[in-house]
Symmetry: C2
């Protein structure tokens, strides 16, 4: 999900630092300071343990962190307005677990994969945030109130902690699959290299990108297997297939398919929305929720993912401003036709033949931009994103009623995220 | 397993056919004729069904094929002497199921992955052969003799058929993981491309190689999940991690590690023997065998894999002849130090500094070959292969006694394979 936006950021950052020629350990240390800063929780994390080895120690840590976050969130107005802050500390621990996990037997590979987990996605960890919020939104914490219920409450509390740990595992697996797909998407053909297209892996090396991605995928599989839930395994295995199918659809599209809105939306689902939607569903399944609730979780993820990608496509044209042509124009220059242009073609059919020529000629890019500017393409793409954002919010509103404060706050945060996604400017 | 030997063959074959510039469908059709020829069973296979969708129709087909093979094998001396022929027809169906499965939603990707399944590994399908033989070697078929036991026998027969289908699924998954690792191993760094190293993916494109590999891995995951056996899922997820670790160990080896026999054997286990050993174990686990039997199955696979790779390393120096320098010398030219040279260094310590220089200078290759010729390196590598082959055979001999003809024949075939592996000349 959200891969292209992130790719752009990471490429720029990565190209500034010729890490391959430098000492990987130094590089690791520098980035750790730059991007994360040391935090007191770091030393508390059991080293070498990811979600493959669920243990009471780390579960307890997470649980404590969550209580602390709950307390902090309730005490400040600022925190309440930011969905990310609700799970911020829990995410820090999660990121640290990921970081520890990727330090494999071969440090060079660990460094490669680790880079992504340190950087995070656009400074936020969007997917894990959504998933942890969803976990709380679907949970009904057991209140510890009367003394006679204490022992029962303790058992329930222990079960709730175990469930949370398993749901955190889904968040980790999702991030691993996402980063693996980024690494593999960035592998270039020789032809691209010759054309001088810069990318992460032109610095890192194709082969290392592939191996680091494979490494993450294999770790994700091992972690998935440890959950011992065959339905969840199937769900996330299917996601990997979708990511591949989506990327291939984009690579091998015919000129007819390139102009087809349905094909575009299908590709967008595979490439962007499948991972978050199926992970949301996995969160619900682990919690033992009904099929209806699992479907609502899925619908939230799907529509949030689609909304995000539609806005991403708009921003590729407009950038941070609202003016056309201020974006990177990366899609159109790579011959990738997205929603704004597809809507423009509906208004100006003569644009079809320009698009069908591909965009090897930069004059064609200018022509397309001119048509797009005269059309409602950008506005209609935004409107479609709004529609999907609304559908995502509706899915949350349709969840079974629950008056628990924590549950309600997480649901509000999930709804807030739908707006953050469509109003973002980067 | 056995990846380098196969890589060489596939590269040569692939480079002769500039398929990327041609019509993929035509390419597919041509290769189908050249390599497989149409066979009557083909039309009987339910289209679009892999082992993800286990169904009674395909199970019945397999079962019938197996009975037929049993009949054929018993009636000819020639068949009895060839381990491959025992499961030949079953393998044809398996290959066809794989072929059908890889025809994904995006045909171009299907063609890429399909290529490997058509070619097979060295004309044989080594891994699936071992696994199907192991399945029979560990099974106790229910004899259908007296009429009063017919209904019970039918139930048992149905269970046996279901088990066989699940074990065939392991064979398919193993082949998918193997081919995925071949595709990914062949991805090159830009540097390699610049040095003019030819490879499969220099024709096919790095990106398509990566995607085709990912596609197979994702299908393998989906198929694995469908088995609903979390222990087996964990086992094969771990294999993917081993393949990555082994490849990375080879890529990022230090000059000290390069000269270390233990490091070499560990890398060889990860790269070559882990897949077949853990798949053999999975076959035993699915059959509900004891931990002891599962371990023997694992030991067979591990030692067979190690023996195979050691001989592969020898053949890289000798080729089909017994003379040194007649092989492709691919390893040494890529700076990869294998068993023969490691043994030679033990006899001639002065060889260390030659090896530590890497082999960028071809004069160093000649010096190393001279030392190797004067040493017992080749003979000791062969002897080590023989040791592992013997250990593999011993694992089979240690299985619980069983007098069933089919079981005995499969066990003999597995033992024969250990000799075939070490006496092969290509």
């Amino acid at each position: 999900m959200f891969s292209r936006g992130f790719s752009r950021i990471s490429r720029a950052g990565f190209n500034n630092y010729q890490w391959r020629q430098s000492c990987p350990a130094l590089y690791t240390a520098v980035y750790h300071q730059l991007l994360w800063n040391s935090h007191p929780l770091e030393d508390l994390i059991p080293k070498g343990r990811g979600c493959m080895e669920i243990n009471s120690c780390s579960s307890h840590l997470f649980h404590e962190a969550r209580r602390q976050i709950h307390h902090n969130a309730a005490s400040t107005i600022e925190d309440q307005s930011d969905p990310f802050s609700i799970v911020a500390d829990e995410l820090l621990i999660l990121a640290d677990r990921l970081r520890v996990m990727v330090v494999a037997e071969v440090p060079k590979l660990g460094s490669a994969a680790e880079y992504f987990f340190k950087l995070g996605v656009e400074g936020k960890r969007f997917r894990p945030t959504v998933l942890l919020l969803m976990a709380t939104a679907l949970n009904m914490p057991v209140p510890i109130s009367s003394p006679e219920r204490l022992s029962t409450a303790r058992v329930s509390d222990s079960l709730a902690t175990e469930l949370r740990t398993r749901q955190q595992c889904i968040a980790e697996i999702t991030e691993m699959i996402h980063v693996a797909s980024l690494l593999h998407d960035d592998v270039l053909d020789d032809a691209d290299t010759r054309r001088g297209v810069s990318s992460l892996n032109s610095v890192m090396g194709n082969k290392l990108s592939v191996l680091a991605g494979d490494f993450l995928l294999s770790r994700a599989c091992v972690a998935l297997a440890s959950l011992k839930n065959t339905e969840v395994v199937s769900l996330l295995a299917k996601v990997v297939e979708h990511l591949v199918t989506g990327e291939t659809m984009q690579m091998t599209t015919t000129s007819e398919q390139r102009l087809n809105m349905e094909y575009y939306m299908q590709k967008t689902y595979f490439k962007t929305a499948s991972l978050i939607s199926n992970s949301c569903k996995a969160i619900a399944l682990l919690a033992g929720q009904t099929a209806e609730v699992a479907t609502l979780a899925f619908e939230y993820g799907k529509n949030l993912g689609l909304a995000y990608q539609l806005i991403d496509d708009v921003l590729d044209y407009t950038g941070t401003s609202t003016s056309l042509g201020k974006g990177s124009l990366s899609d159109i220059r790579h011959g990738i036709v997205t929603a704004p242009l597809l809507f423009a073609i509906e208004e100006f059919p003569q644009l079809r033949q320009v698009v069908q020529r591909g965009f090897d000629n930069s004059a064609d890019v200018d022509i397309a931009l001119e048509y797009l500017g005269r059309s409602q393409g950008i506005q209609r793409a935004k409107a479609l994103a709004q529609t999907h954002a609304n559908l995502a919010a509706e899915a949350i509103d349709s969840l079974p009623e629950n008056n628990n404060d924590e549950v309600q706050r997480s649901r509000r945060a999930l709804i807030d995220l739908t707006q953050i996604v469509i109003t973002r400017t980067k």
